[in-house]
């Protein structure tokens, strides 16, 4: 167990250092901003001030609307978290079966159109895909799945939550990457001896090949997709009026509201690094040789 703890400690330190690096980069960019505003100071002192504010999680005031950033960013962070995790789940839910199916079926009859479909769907530009889904759903179900409609207006609550997650999960070319990775990895593992051996013992191919063939590539890719999904979220939130960090980032870019953007970048980095920690720990757990 001690090796396990060692890994966790190493990861946390690494993340801590990285987060400081990111805040330094953001601070540099922050100071390059033309014009004069509150958080801008000279030299290390104000950098420490920024660090203190970031690490103690109360981020001061946005220069445009004067509202305390905490009250804006945290609900947005929660919403984006829901969206990101949901999208990851949807991508996996679809990509893994297709990947397994095309790995087993190879390039024959109906495995080819399925993986091609996954390529097409995941290459649809997210901004168009969102609107298309919105238009079709509102035309044929009579509900307009906009985040707000459900909170106090007509329209089904589930649909309003589901659609942005579905769109971000399907689009944003995450599915085709996962499908391709699983197909290649699974092919490689199926042809190894130990799978043949376990088949000889009567185990199903999938059970024996799942460990190295699916789980490990999945863990390594899923968490490295977090930054892309947050990026995609910016656009999906814009389309579905989903009050998440992405839309806040877009709005503050329009208003040139740097402090809010810096905080959003900081929280996104936190999300990415937490994902990385989880990834490394899981990988270590699954793959002893990676000690």
């Amino acid at each position: 167990m001690t090796r396990f703890l060692k890994i966790i400690v190493k990861e946390v330190i690494n993340t801590f250092l990285l987060v400081i690096g990111v805040s330094a980069l953001l601070f540099l960019l922050f100071n390059m901003m033309p014009g004069e505003f509150l958080g801008k100071g000279e030299g290390v002192r104000s950098f420490l001030l920024l660090l203190k504010r970031l690490f103690t999680l109360h981020f001061g005031v946005s220069i445009v609307s004067g509202i305390d950033i905490n009250s804006i960013v945290f609900p947005a962070f929660k919403n984006t978290l829901i969206l990101t995790v949901g999208a990851l789940f949807i991508s996996l839910l679809l990509a893994v079966p297709i990947g397994i199916f095309s790995a087993f079926r190879g390039f024959k009859t109906y495995s080819w159109p399925l993986s091609m479909l996954s390529y097409i769907v995941s290459s649809i530009p997210v901004f168009y895909f969102g609107y298309l889904v919105l238009y079709l759903v509102s035309r044929y179900t009579g509900y307009l799945p906009i985040y707000y409609v459900q909170s106090s207006g007509k329209g089904s609550r589930v649909l309003a939550y589901m659609l942005p997650i579905l769109v971000l999960g399907l689009g944003n070319n995450s599915i085709c990457e996962i499908v391709r990775l699983i197909t290649t990895e699974l092919d490689r593992v199926i042809s190894t001896d130990y799978v043949a051996d376990s088949r000889a013992r009567g185990e199903s191919i999938l059970a024996s090949a799942a460990g190295e063939g699916i789980l490990i590539p999945l863990v390594s890719i899923v968490f490295s997709k977090v930054p892309f999904i947050i990026g995609g979220a910016v656009i999906v939130e814009q389309v579905f009026n989903w009050p998440g960090m992405g839309r806040l980032a877009y709005q503050s870019t329009l208003d040139r509201d740097m402090p809010v953007l810096i905080v959003i970048a900081f929280l996104s980095v936190l999300m990415v690094r937490v994902g990385m920690i989880a990834r490394n720990i899981l990988l270590f757990h699954l793959n002893p040789r990676e000690a």
């Binding site: 088949r199 460990g211 699954l286």
Partner: protein, 383 residues
């Protein structure tokens, strides 16, 4: 002793997309395995002995795979009914699917294959055949026949500890047992394969096992489901000499203790000579000679088939080394298995195929002829 399995006329082809030609892995292999015996299957590498073993286990996936032959096998009591049910699925009339207690696992193969000649074409629905065959073999693999592969380290799942793999296999076959009973059985198995500290081995990952230990674990796992027939494909070739003999002794004790039937596949005739009761010699996809060890390798009147004779003489025994005899090498190479052989495959390298006999050898491959008590030879010398 009663037969436990008998392979008749096995024909396994693979297909090379680029050259549009068939790779004739196994041309015509027939074996009969008595219960409790040790059958040694010997032949140079590339003669199809591994493919024969794999087709017995039903693990030949590539196309077209098994295209001919029948494999009669006697499943254990409790699996008999489900195996028969699986075999007869989809067939209204059931002709000779059974011979005594043995059941033909390749039953109905011909319905999936259509042959045409000039040019030689074949249509096989391999997907349907595999789906059907896997359903049949589901009751056979592990339960009745289990198999050991060549390189022990690569046959163990590197991501799960050894113990877990062993217990999982045990658990699969005796559902009713609970956790520590299975643990006990696993320990017992590990001790039975002469591993001295089973507790620590249970927790280790395959990566940190030595070759010898790994092979023993593989054997333990294979026996976990107490099969009736064990196929060992080159179990000793990956090991150094001391381990090699130790594994042979281990196999010998296991067979006696668990009245197991063993099919030992090896290219080393001496290893086979040590423990085999019957021997079958394979060359270029054909079983050229099969019979009791004494008849085939026997000192009294020496090996019969030219290839067997050449094979035996080319392997130096300890006494040869002592006497410093010159090694005798078989000229020529194994014929390319892409080209259909009309005559006897050994014709180019056989020193007896001279004069009149050569003509017969070239036209047609000799059918097996009974020379002694169930001692068959495919050579015109003995017609």
């Amino acid at each position: 002793m009663p037969l436990i399995a008998s392979l008749g006329g096995l024909k396994v082809y693979f297909y090379d997309q680029k050259d549009k030609r068939f790779i004739r892995a196994v041309e015509d292999a027939s074996l009969s395995i008595d219960e409790g015996s040790v059958l040694g299957l010997v032949g140079e590498s590339g003669c199809g002995k591994t493919v024969t073993a794999l087709s017995m286990m039903g693990l030949v996936d590539s196309e077209p795979g098994i295209v001919g032959g029948e494999f009669y096998f006697r499943p254990k009591g409790d699996d008999r009914r489900s195996v028969i049910h699986a075999i007869l699925r989809g067939f209204r009339e059931s002709r000779n699917y059974r011979r005594g207690e043995l059941v033909n696992l390749f039953y109905g193969l011909e319905n999936f294959i259509e042959f045409r000649h000039n040019p030689f074409t074949m249509i096989k629905d391999n997907e349907k055949w595999l789906r059907r065959h896997n359903r049949i073999m589901e009751y056979i693999r592990g339960r009745n026949i289990s198999m050991i592969f060549q390189n022990p380290l690569r046959s163990l799942n590197p991501f799960t500890p050894v113990g877990a793999q062993l217990m999982k296999t045990i658990g699969r076959f005796n559902h009713e047992k609970d956790e520590n009973e299975i643990f006990e059985m696993a320990m017992g198995l590990l001790r039975s394969t002469l591993l001295y500290n089973p507790e620590s081995i249970m927790k280790m990952y395959p990566g940190s096992l030595s070759l010898g230990m790994a092979q023993r674990v593989i054997i333990a796992i294979a026996l976990a489901s107490n099969p009736t027939l064990l196929i060992a494909d080159e179990p000793t070739s990956g090991l150094d000499t001391t381990n090699r003999y130790r594994i042979i002794d281990l196999l010998e004790t296991i067979i006696d203790k668990m009245n197991l039937t063993l099919v030992l596949i090896s290219h080393n005739i001496h290893i086979v000579g040590l423990i085999a009761t019957n021997v079958a010699v394979m060359y270029a996809g054909i079983i050229v000679e099969s019979g009791g060890k004494r008849d085939v390798l026997g000192k009294k009147h020496g090996p019969k088939h030219p290839y067997t004779r050449a094979l035996v003489s080319s392997m130096p025994t300890d006494s040869d080394i002592k006497r410093g005899k010159r090694l005798r090498v078989i000229q020529g190479t194994v014929p390319d298995n892409k080209i259909a052989i009309r005559g006897c495959p050994f014709i180019d390298r056989c020193q007896y195929a001279k004069g009149k006999i050569r003509r017969r050898c070239r036209e047609k491959c000799p059918d097996p002829v009974e020379v002694g008590k169930n001692h068959l030879i495919r050579c015109y010398l003995y017609y």
